[in-house]
């Protein structure tokens, strides 16, 4: 039976940039446990000879030709941005992180 700790939930919330209250940590830990239990049931029926599947449709190698297609104009691209500057998307400063 999988159990997910409050600390793990808090860590995940941090990674997902979600503000989660102390009370919610307990709620979500319980709910995530239920989800993990359900997923774990799949393991009970998964046999060695069944490869892990990520897609329901048995398709492979769906490719596009390397040919330019029209996209958006800059005006269209920036139209819904909350803020722009110098033809770029303007975002708040990024604290204590560096790419």
């Amino acid at each position: 039976m999988p159990t997910i700790s409050r600390d793990e939930v808090a860590h995940l919330a941090g990674l997902a940039r979600l503000a989660v209250t102390e009370a919610e940590l307990d709620t979500f830990a319980g709910q995530l446990d239920d989800i993990l239990d359900s997923v774990a049931k799949v393991n009970e029926v998964a046999a060695e000879d069944i490869p892990p599947t990520s897609h329901a449709v048995p398709l492979t190698n769906v490719f596009r030709e390397d040919v330019v297609r029209p996209g958006l104009s800059r005006e269209q691209a920036l139209a819904n941005a909350p803020a722009t500057e110098e033809n770029r998307f303007r975002v708040p400063r990024i604290l204590s992180e560096e790419a």
Partner: protein
Amino acid sequence: MTAVAEIMDYDEVLERFDPVLGLEVHVELSTDTKMFCGCPNFFGSDPNTQVCPVCLGMPGALPVVNGKAVESAIRIGLALNCEVAEQCRFARKNYFYPDMPKNFQTSQYDEPIVFEGHLDVVLDDGETFRVGIERAHMEEDTGKSLHVGGADGRIHGAEHSLLDYNRAGVPLIEIVTKPITGAGHRAPEVARAYVTALRDLLRSMHVSDVRMDQGSLRCDANVSLSPKGSGEFGTRTETKNVNSLRSVERAVRYEMRRHAAVLASGGEIVQETRHFDESTASTSSGRPKETAEDYRYFPEPDLVPIAPSQEWVEQLRTTLPELPWQRRRRVQQDWQLSDEELRDLVNAGALDLVAATVDAGASPAEARSWWVAYLSQQANERGVDLASLPITPEQVARVVELVGEGTLTHKLARQVVDGVLAGKGDPDEVVAAEGIEVVSDDSALQSAIDEALAAQPDVADKIRGGKVQAAGAIVGAVMKATQGQADAKRVRELVLASCGQE
């Protein structure tokens, strides 16, 4: 500001530790379009003019894989002696950063398209060092941030950032080495030589521009130290922003020395990314490294798996061009070079240039002489790569041809090359514009010779008296008078004839 880190003397580092390297090289493919959408993949356009709903991560937009990029990935794998996966998938790498409009990067995780290969790297002294390749996988590049308000465009102290998504979604191949051990004191050199060899390989395959200065080839250098003989790997750091071949070598060397100082004083290395500063050749602390779990990778539901058939892989294998090491071997044979001559050619970065000059009609010896001697010297003086000199192999071949025809002497040829380097046009244009030509008109030469003989009557008498070696002084005077434009051999013949010594 960060305090200057303690660093240990390099020789002492090696007495106490064995370096372990891991190099991650990101290569932007030079496809016409992006990895998952039909936006143009072109460097240097105006901001946000090569974007669409897919690469801007708009809701409902669906990616479709660029087949050409997959081909390039497989071909790169084959050139690196890798195995090709029978089936592989894309995965989402989740993290929040404004240069990723989707809030995840489409990458590959546990199923890279190619894996388990190697690249043999030739070091400066001609020794070969084999670097193991762990894997190469396909992913997409991020957008470009411009940090406003901080010092020198860096993120620290910036008030806000501006994003250009032209680069977001550009096809990227990440090539990861196995841990490189046993390089000892040559570790920094091995790192540089590996990135150089990889660059040359990718360039010969025409899959990428491989311009480190423009970011189409980028190297992250992982360095750790293992106490000598212990066989245990230490904690590693990952140095980013290493934007030139020279910087790769310097960054590795600096991190080895910094790690050693920290470990020797009883400290611990923090696993983190570090930022390389070209101006000081040192690194500074970046962000703590997230663990793979923190990226919460999962299979990309919007893209079906890729399953390259054996036929396809074999067909792609036949499209591989002559690879740099094959070319080196062939050139050495064709041009009859010693190992040393070949090494000098390679180290000068002249091999491809000489080969192209030979292809354009010059003899290997002439072509080699121009690039390795005069042009290398010009490149040094200008502080640029040989390949960046503003002269093409075709132009050098034309100069060689003009010398062969007798239109130019070697001395004049240099003047013409200087003209080409100065942006005065093709060799023929420089010859015409500057009036550079061998004076072979005998009557013009004869009057110069008569003048020289008249000016030095004692020398003239000696020649007439049979001392033919004295003719050199007259030849020299004539060459001076014609500003080097005469054919010295012809002048000598005429001088002797004038003095009755034929």
